[in-house]
Amino acid sequence: IPRQVSELVQFLLVKDQKKIPIKRADMLKNIIREYRDAYSEIVKRADRTLQEVFGLQLVEIDTKRHIYILINNLPRAEGEYLCRGKEKEKMGLLLVILSFIFMKGNSVKDSALWEFLHLLRVYPGKQHSVFGDVRKLVTEEFVRQKYLETTAIPLTDPPEFKYQWGPRAEKETSKKDVLNFVAKMQGKDPTFWASQYSEAQTN
């Protein structure tokens, strides 16, 4: 069984490197195979190893379809925010988007989001020197990685979408952190935004 645990740890690390959510079915098929009965024990031990050695945690983000991600357990260091890789710039953009969504009441229409990004000289139609195809980054990559969640707004024609925080964002950061970020950027105290401040306290 220890071999299964170390293989599962490797498997999860590889999947996580690309921020692909992991399905239980994949874990069973690729690693656990004939040890199905010991599945929960193997997963539990793999999770413990990930926490003890790597500071990562296996978290189920979809309890119905049994989908997991690895989140970073380590306390965030100054200037590190959400990033654990060389993708600092993408994470910077993401943090700005998550802040905007939170400050606007946890849900924004896609038109409002793009209007906001215009202010930062980020345009959906234009190739950005750092981010490349920004529309793809925001509507596909961030959504696939579960940082953002997008839902269609019913009865809209042409169809409009709304954006909210995705489950990975919920787990890897907090409303408190995000509010502190906004406060820092604007040189104000977090309590300046009374309703967001009280919401962040209970998060």
């Binding site: 220890p2 170390s6 740890v9 490797q10 690390l13 590889v14 490197q17 690309k18 190893t49 003890e52 050695v53 790597f54 500071g55 990562l56 970073n72 357990n73 380590l74 306390p75 260091a77 100054e78 654990r84 890789g85 060389k86």
Partner: protein
């Protein structure tokens, strides 16, 4: 100390960054060591990086992983990478590239290892693309794939020629030594795998360029350490 060293958040943070970097240069690793210890408020001693890494390695061992130090064949500087010891082939790359890209890489690696100087020209590699078993690859596509291999630090490019990146050598040293047993050269000085090397014209032993530089420092008439003939290559 006799106590088994514990992993702290500083160790975990260091490991996470090393893994996401792919390869980390020595002085960067030392800075990172300091940053992690300060961030997680763990005792820091600037000369204890090796102990710090040993602690992590003792916990990685049951997972068949290791932080390994390798020396760059270009500048002789130390670099660190997290390697998987259980791999029997290029499985680390397997998840990042397609079947046909992996085949191109393996064939490129063949060319590089079998070459005299550890380099394969881009022309030779592009000709390979035409002969792949999986599916033929167009020259333009192969050029793009080579670019990605360089960006991901599996290959490095110099004047239109390609060799294995330090990261690739650190990660695949065991694989290369066992799969290219008869052809892969080991440096006569440091006994590690040598991809780029200078070779003695008389007896055929090879040495890394940085190792040659160190070994022949201050000598006016460099001689081969094995057969004592004059060393025919220009000492770097």
């Amino acid at each position: 100390t006799l106590m088994a060293a514990q992993m702290t958040n500083a160790h975990r943070r260091f490991l996470q960054v090393l893994m996401s970097n792919g390869i980390t240069e020595g002085s960067e690793a030392r800075k990172l060591h300091q940053h992690c210890c300060e961030t997680d408020k763990v005792y820091y001693a600037h000369d204890k990086l090796d102990d710090f890494i040993s602690t992590i390695n003792s916990h990685l061992q049951p997972l068949f992983m290791q932080i390994r130090k390798g020396i760059s064949e270009d500048d002789g500087r130390a670099h660190y990478a997290v390697v998987n010891l259980a791999e029997t082939e290029v499985t680390k790359m397997a998840s990042d590239y397609t079947e046909i890209e992996l085949e191109l890489f393996r064939k490129t690696m063949d060319l590089i290892i079998l070459s005299e100087n550890g380099f394969a020209s881009s022309t030779d590699i592009l000709n390979l693309a035409d002969q792949l078993k999986t599916k033929k690859m167009k020259k333009k596509e192969a050029e793009q794939v080579l670019k990605v291999f360089v960006e991901d630090k599996w290959l490095s490019e110099k004047n239109g020629e390609y060799t294995l990146h330090t990261r690739c050598i650190i990660e695949m040293e065991q694989y290369i030594l066992s799969n290219y047993q008869d052809v892969a050269r080991k440096c006569n000085i440091c006994h590690s795998l040598a991809i780029q090397s200078q070779v003695c014209e008389s007896c055929g032993i090879g040495m890394h360029l940085p190792c040659v530089r160190k070994y022949f420092r201050g000598q006016t008439e460099p001689r081969c350490p094995k057969c004592n003939e004059f060393w025919s290559c220009d000492t770097p």
